[in-house]
Symmetry: C2
Subunit: 431 residues, 2 copies
């Protein structure tokens, strides 16, 4: 902590080939640029070092690429140990067969300590600097995860999950009152304990949450002013089930919105939105709901392809999620290229009028798109919080002379674990 304080007390100057997205989702590139931060806040990127900073040590990364830290808008920490297998089922069966039994083990703090340590260590090594994380229903294990996250230097929202119906006995809250009391205790404890680790309300998804529970979560949201995260329109069977459970609503989104949990009051992130129709998209737009696009999970669970081009055309709020363990990979490099690849299949097989995502757009989603959930995050303008990655191409030699854009694209596609050489979060260097 002392080290962090120190770091924030004098300007940070990083020199390299600096790249970020402007608001039109186009690259801004400054070769040999000076990226300057003070007290964790970006002061801008300059072609020459401004006079006022002369004499201050420069961390000179030569020609290495420097890009904003990335935001993972949707990831399940307790599923990290289960990533990469059990890919033969669709959502609802997958949850019952693999996911729920595994999450139940996180009642035991010893198991949670093991699993969450692996997750947090790998998250630090990944290109992610910000994340919105699902824990489990277990208050103590969730606080343990938040302790590890706080220690890591990453900035996260983490949610104790709420679920009180259609859930197995071994992973179901005792009753609504207990669920809400524990949720409040968790919020109070976490609010006093952390600087970079914030609670987020996390009703699992409509099928798992009774109306009474949802109403209670709304009350907590209003009292504590917390954002919300959940799942939306991921799988066709799931959507049909929600329609049965909530016959009074015209779309899945309304099943959250009727309890003000769709962004109408505090911000809401909805993961997936693969099959959101016109009415739901209109509601998302009105409420400013964040879409966490999780392409690899949608592939692995055969959920389908989200209409990302449509979301961009509609100017929806959207970023990327890895959705481990629906997605196997924790890297947003991979999520970004998965998003491009999926959009090409959408173009081939669903709607040839919807152009595939470009690399610039995928870069935007991974950095500024998702980052905006955290405020002015994920780009390098004056006043932004300074999250930055210095990239290495050492592991991917080529005889070819490449443009800056080609070098960046290549790092995304090759998604080497070693690509992130140095990471800075809120101006603090993690490594």
């Amino acid at each position: 902590m002392d080290h962090k304080q120190e770091n924030n007390n004098y300007p940070l100057i990083l020199k390299g080939t600096v790249i970020w997205s402007d608001e039109n989702r186009r690259y801004q590139i400054v070769p040999g640029g000076y990226l300057i931060g003070e007290a964790g806040i970006c002061q801008g990127v300059f072609e020459t070092l401004p006079d006022e900073y002369k004499g201050i040590p420069v961390q000179d990364y030569q020609d290495q690429l420097i890009i904003p830290g990335m935001t993972d808008l949707h990831v399940h920490a307790p599923q990290y140990g289960s990533r990469g297998f059990g890919m033969d089922l669709e959502l609802l069966e997958w949850l019952n067969t693999y996911t729920f039994p595994e999450e139940a083990k996180y009642k035991e703090l010893e198991y949670a300590q093991k699993g969450y340590s692996v997750f947090v260590n790998d998250l630090v090594q990944s290109p992610t600097t910000r994340a919105c994380i699902f824990a489990t229903i277990h208050k103590e294990a969730t606080l343990l995860l938040m302790d590890l996250l706080e220690e890591s230097g990453l900035v996260t929202y983490t949610g104790k999950v709420n679920m009180d119906r259609n859930s197995p006995d071994f992973l179901c809250e005792k009753d609504v009152q207990t669920a809400l009391e524990e949720t409040i205790q968790w919020i109070v404890e976490s609010r006093n304990r952390y600087q970079n680790t914030m609670p987020i309300l996390t009703p699992r998804f409509v099928p798992s949450c009774s109306d009474e529970l949802m109403r209670g979560i709304r009350d907590i949201m209003e009292e504590y002013k917390l954002p919300v995260q959940s799942h939306l329109s991921e799988n066709r069977n799931e959507i049909a089930w929600v329609h049965e459970l909530c016959p009074n609503t015209a779309c899945y989104g309304e099943a959250y919105d009727q309890f003000d949990l769709f962004g109408s009051k505090d911000p809401a992130i909805m993961a997936h939105c693969v099959h959101s129709g016109l009415r739901e998209r209109k509601l998302m737009k009105e409420r400013g709901t964040y879409i966490a696009h999780c392409p690899q999970s949608n592939l692995n669970l055969a959920s389908g392809i989200a209409p990302v081009r449509t979301y961009l055309e509609e100017n929806q709020k959207i970023g990327l999620g890895t959705d481990v363990a629906g997605g196997a990979n924790l890297s947003l490099f991979r999520a970004a290229t998965d998003a491009i690849q999926m959009s090409k299949m959408y173009y081939c097989y669903v709607d040839s009028k919807k152009a595939p995502l470009t690399m610039e757009e995928a870069f935007y989603l991974a950095t500024r798109g998702g980052g905006s959930f955290f405020g002015r995050v994920g780009y390098f303008e004056k006043g932004c919080e300074l999250d930055a990655l210095v990239l290495s191409e050492q592991e991917i030699p080529t005889p070819k002379v490449l443009s800056v854009e080609e070098r960046l694209e290549r790092i995304f596609y090759l998604a080497e674990k070693t690509a992130v050489a140095h990471k800075f979060v809120r101006g603090k260097q993690l490594y």
Copy 2:
């Protein structure tokens, strides 16, 4: 070479959890099994060490997984330095914009040395033990690549590319006679030079090869008894072009078959087969044509999704290709999971009667399916050539206790570069 001879002169005994595919594409698993080779030939996998091998040193890998080496049925070595960028174009434009100008540089041996060294080094580190490789039109650079491959210990077919029409001046053979003469010189030189590195005839694809060139390649095939590799039905515009160029043929496959280059005499590998209709599939089946399924390339170039389930139902000969640089990744772990993911999108958007590939099937394709092009390769029965990988899970810790099948699936999905701890090719340990 001495070291290799020595290695082949005494039995090789590897102990671990041994896994391979049977002919029904199902796992065979022997925990604590002894995989035994003599003179590079598999003697079988045994639950207890047979008496005749007692006293011979055992390489004991404890509980580590031991699987067959994998076969990459389609990869372009000179495109390796260009992988991972320029993914915004479809096939024909992509070739003209990125690929052809890059391949032209391989005329210069110094450039070829740099590029091919990187390729071969990475191929050795990958799970591939066998590969069918496209070089360029340049004879000397192709021999240079083959020198590096021979040195590596991998077993490969490598082709000097033929192309004499619809090609840019800077990457086009001078005339048919020169093309054929150089091809023969290359074959003769390479036949005298290598043990593990074999020539394969490589007409680039129908649009690049005149009828006269194709006839000449047929004559060479008949004289030298060489297999053939090319491209087939990858992209809709390409297919339409072939239809214009060869109005006498009813499908793209016939444009090869009319010159006996579709497997009717010597074996042929056709990459992609994304849009092969009934007539073409029937011809492939009759000719025993090998399909190199290259899922990631088909994604990146928005070519479409090959009907892999149909090919399996038809008992076509089929394996996987990375198709670098249409595909960005050289790892067949990744190609196998890409194939599963693509098959799920095929199921979602093209034909819900075609079940997605299972992990067992993808494993089969990566090992035994493609390996069979090289003979009895890619599995562990008595008489097979012994290519094996010892896998490491050190980089992917989990608190969960996993089954053997889950461990294997996880290695494929997480595709860590460090997963291949030891590699054996024809009984020789490369590392």
